[in-house]
């Protein structure tokens, strides 16, 4: 029985790996799987290695893909910019331009994410057996196929019904909830930031930039818009001040927030999709203005 089972498994592996190699299967099923897929596409060179890369947190995840189609968005939900920098460094990629989100610099890197991507055994297996990569999972691809087929049927999903998207639905949720969330964010954004920790993190960014080998003038720091009540609290202020000292404006590039626009967020931190389009356009234009290409 054990031998037969293993034989069946091997057969399935061979067949499915062949399908994966021959086709362009790729789908995600959750935020954590999307993080892994984005990273693996770079690590296993499914994406071009010389490019413009954005790294960030879940705030940066909201950036509009279509508007920023020339950029590879390596922002990870629930993770930090250090995870993105680690992926670039370990994949030995030298991007032409690097855009670094600066909002939540105090978040630390995730050991488990690093282990998932770079554990020697799984790394080697995924190199030779593409079917083991996150985006190629047979169950996820099967479900994605079923969902896409079903979406052709009218009125089955909320996304189809409310083309404006999730926001309209969310607006139905009591405003109290949004205020509560903002209050909670206010509390955490007002907490004092440990100087030593901030210093170490900024040092870490500097060291990653050096290891990656990118020109200082090709590094862009940018801030994602937040609810106006959070923008100038203790933490963001301190981060900005220290950032300018560590990475002088005459050596590095900064894309600061536009003074004239107040952005709307869904929870105080994350932009709604319509707002994200506005900011993505702004980010793109600002980048082009500086680089001229």
């Amino acid at each position: 029985m054990i031998k037969k089972t293993i034989l069946i498994t091997l057969l399935l592996i061979i067949c499915y790996n062949f399908i994966v190699i021959e086709s362009d299967l790729s789908t995600f099923q959750s935020e954590s799987s999307l993080n892994t897929i984005k990273a693996e596409k770079l690590i296993y060179a499914e994406e071009s290695k010389s490019q413009k890369i954005i790294i960030g947190s879940s705030l940066g995840v909201r950036l509009n893909e279509e508007i920023l189609s020339e950029f590879y968005n390596l922002s990870f939900a629930g993770l930090s910019i250090y995870d993105g920098l680690k992926v670039i460094e370990k994949s030995e990629i030298k991007p032409d331009y690097l855009l670094i989100e600066t909002n939540i610099l105090w978040r630390t890197e995730s050991k488990s994410f690093e282990e998932k991507l770079f554990h020697p055994i799984s790394y080697s297996l995924k190199s030779y057996l593409p079917f083991m990569r996150e985006g190629k999972q047979p169950l996820a691809n099967m479900t994605s196929f079923v969902i896409n087929e079903l979406k052709k049927i009218k009125n089955i999903s909320r996304e189809e019904n409310n083309s404006v998207d999730q926001e309209e639905h969310n607006q139905k949720v009591d405003n109290d909830l949004l205020n509560k969330l903002i209050q909670e964010q206010k509390k955490s954004f007002s907490e004092e930031l440990n100087d030593k920790m901030l210093y170490e993190n900024l040092e870490k960014i500097k060291s990653y930039i050096e290891k990656i080998g990118i020109e200082k003038s090709n590094v862009f720091f940018f801030e994602m818009p937040l609810n106006p009540l959070l923008l100038n609290l203790e933490r963001p202020k301190k981060v900005r001040e220290n950032l300018y000292q560590f990475f002088p404006k005459n050596e590095y590039n900064y894309i600061t927030l536009p003074d004239t626009i107040e952005f709307i967020t869904t929870d105080g931190l994350h932009l709604s999709s319509s707002e994200s389009k506005i900011y993505s356009n702004y980010l793109k234009e600002s980048f082009l203005k500086i680089t001229g290409n």
């Binding site: 499915y16 799984s122 909320r158």
Partner: protein, 468 residues
């Protein structure tokens, strides 16, 4: 160390290799103890001191119960039980005590809240209690039969019993009378590899494919995110969580049983298709069997069980279920969860008594579905330890009513819950119809499961029951 990590695979391989080497046969217990201590202390070395201290208490008390002055047998056994409860209470419930009864800013309060919860403490302290009671009561064996005269030999056996890694951190809770008589030299040709293989494949499949994938979707049950979802999504997430918690814990138990089997030790089944239970009583005979049988044997029966009149029976039920609930975690919501199950059991008992229904022969599809619904709703208390959030969640189910739903969430939960449904359906069909062709094709199902473990595992998460 997680069962689904590469480092564990390495530890297991090396342990098996040394364990069955003919010239190391006499050192089998030493090898397993060493592996178990490495397994337990891998993430945090000082933990091993607590495990050794706990084992030490049980080594001394059980030895004294059997071999020292018979006048003090009972007292020594009581000291053994109380010491285990003290260790459990101190490390697990100090924070809850402080948060509930002490002033928030006091030194004592801050100290108690800061005490870390050592992994697996609820399991190995219960095994210690089982040892003290079993050697004292001698219901299953004479103390001398399982406690060697040599203190050194006894220490080794007890340390092995407490620390055996397959069941160390999340059960199944092993009782002394089940385990101690099994300790002897094991031979490779005695091992039922097929059974171990089946348990391991099914266990890893339930954990890595079902539970680990579902957790990404049931995550949104957390407060305040759930408030953004509509009724169908909320119900679907709850259904998914019900399947996830089963797959997570039953998966862990199956892995533990499979691993123990590789070393020649038989652990009892911990789950027996709980979601097709014909009554609440039946549910508790199928869910976390090692805990419910432990509570039954060492708490419910000593309290008088159902033999001291109706009032005492119901009172005993509430006490056992409430304490069983609190065992799961240091939050009052766990006690409320246990208490809720106590109420379900009591009402069902009354109902069955009035209608003169014999619960053993009772079987009704609608009632089974009702039980599943109630059990599933009760899991909310696990996921949302704040009671007010549980109320908000139930309110949201009614208030956010709409016929539309989140397709992505809905179909993924459906997909990953399906194996749990099929698993239970298979049991139902097996008990009702001739199903020999499925048994003949078992290798096909196990082959597919193994393929999905390799290709479709979710992001590795800790086992839910680790926190208990």
């Amino acid at each position: 160390m997680l069962f689904n990590s590469w480092i564990f695979l390495l530890l297991l391989t090396l342990t098996l290799l040394f364990y069955y080497l003919p010239y190391l046969r006499k050192s089998q217990i030493y090898i397993l103890i060493a592996s178990s201590l490495i397994f337990y202390s891998y993430n945090y070395l000082p933990l091993v001191l607590l495990l050794l201290a706990s084992a030490g208490i049980n080594i001394v008390t059980s030895y004294y119960v059997v071999y020292k002055n018979p006048k003090y047998r009972k007292l020594t056994a009581i000291i053994g039980v109380v010491s285990n409860l003290f260790v459990l209470g101190f490390f697990k419930y100090s924070g809850l005590f402080a948060r509930t009864f002490l002033v928030e800013s006091g030194d004592l309060s801050e100290f108690l809240v800061s005490i870390p919860l050592p992994i697996g403490i609820s399991f190995f302290t219960f095994q210690g209690i089982s040892l003290s009671i079993d050697v004292f009561k001698e219901n299953y064996f004479k103390g001398e039969e399982v406690i060697p005269k040599s203190f050194k030999e006894h220490s080794l056996k007890t340390l092995f019993y407490i620390s055996f890694f397959p069941q160390l951190v999340a059960g199944p809770i092993v009782k002394a009378h089940d385990f101690l008589p099994q300790i002897k030299t094991k031979y490779l040709n005695e091992i039922d590899f097929e059974l171990c293989f089946k348990n391991l494949v099914l266990g890893y499949f339930l954990k890595m494919v079902v539970a680990d994938n579902l957790k990404d979707f049931t995550f949104w049950i957390e407060y305040p995110y759930f408030q953004y979802y509509e009724s169908i999504d909320l119900i679907m997430m709850l259904f998914g969580y019900s399947c996830q918690i089963f797959a997570d814990f039953a998966g862990y138990s199956l892995i533990a049983i499979g691993l123990a089997g590789l070393f020649g030790y038989k652990l009892r089944d911990n789950f027996y298709f709980p979601y097709v239970a014909s009554s609440f009583r039946d549910f508790w005979k199928r869910w976390h069997i090692s805990l419910s049988s432990f509570l039954m044997e060492y708490l419910y029966f000593p309290l008088g069980g159902s033999k001291k009149g109706k009032f005492r029976t119901y009172l005993n039920l509430f006490i056992v279920m409430a304490l069983g609930g609190l065992w799961h975690g240091a939050a009052w919501s766990y006690m409320v969860w246990g208490f809720a199950h106590g109420i379900f059991l009591a009402i069902e008992r009354m109902f069955f008594n009035v209608l003169k229904i014999n619960s053993k022969n009772f079987g009704n599809v609608f009632y089974s579905v009702f039980i599943f619904i109630m059990v599933t709703f009760a899991w909310l208390l696990f996921k949302l330890p704040e009671f007010s959030h549980v109320i908000l969640y139930v309110e949201a189910i009614f208030e956010n009513f709409s016929f539309s739903f989140d397709t992505h969430l809905f179909f993924h939960i459906l997909l990953y819950s399906l194996p749990v449904v099929v698993y239970h359906a298979f049991y139902l069909f097996k008990t009702r119809y001739q199903f020999s062709f499925v048994t003949r094709l078992a290798y096909l199902f196990y082959g597919i499961m193994l393929f999905l473990i390799i290709s479709s595992s979710g992001s590795a998460g800790e086992f839910i029951y680790f926190q208990f």
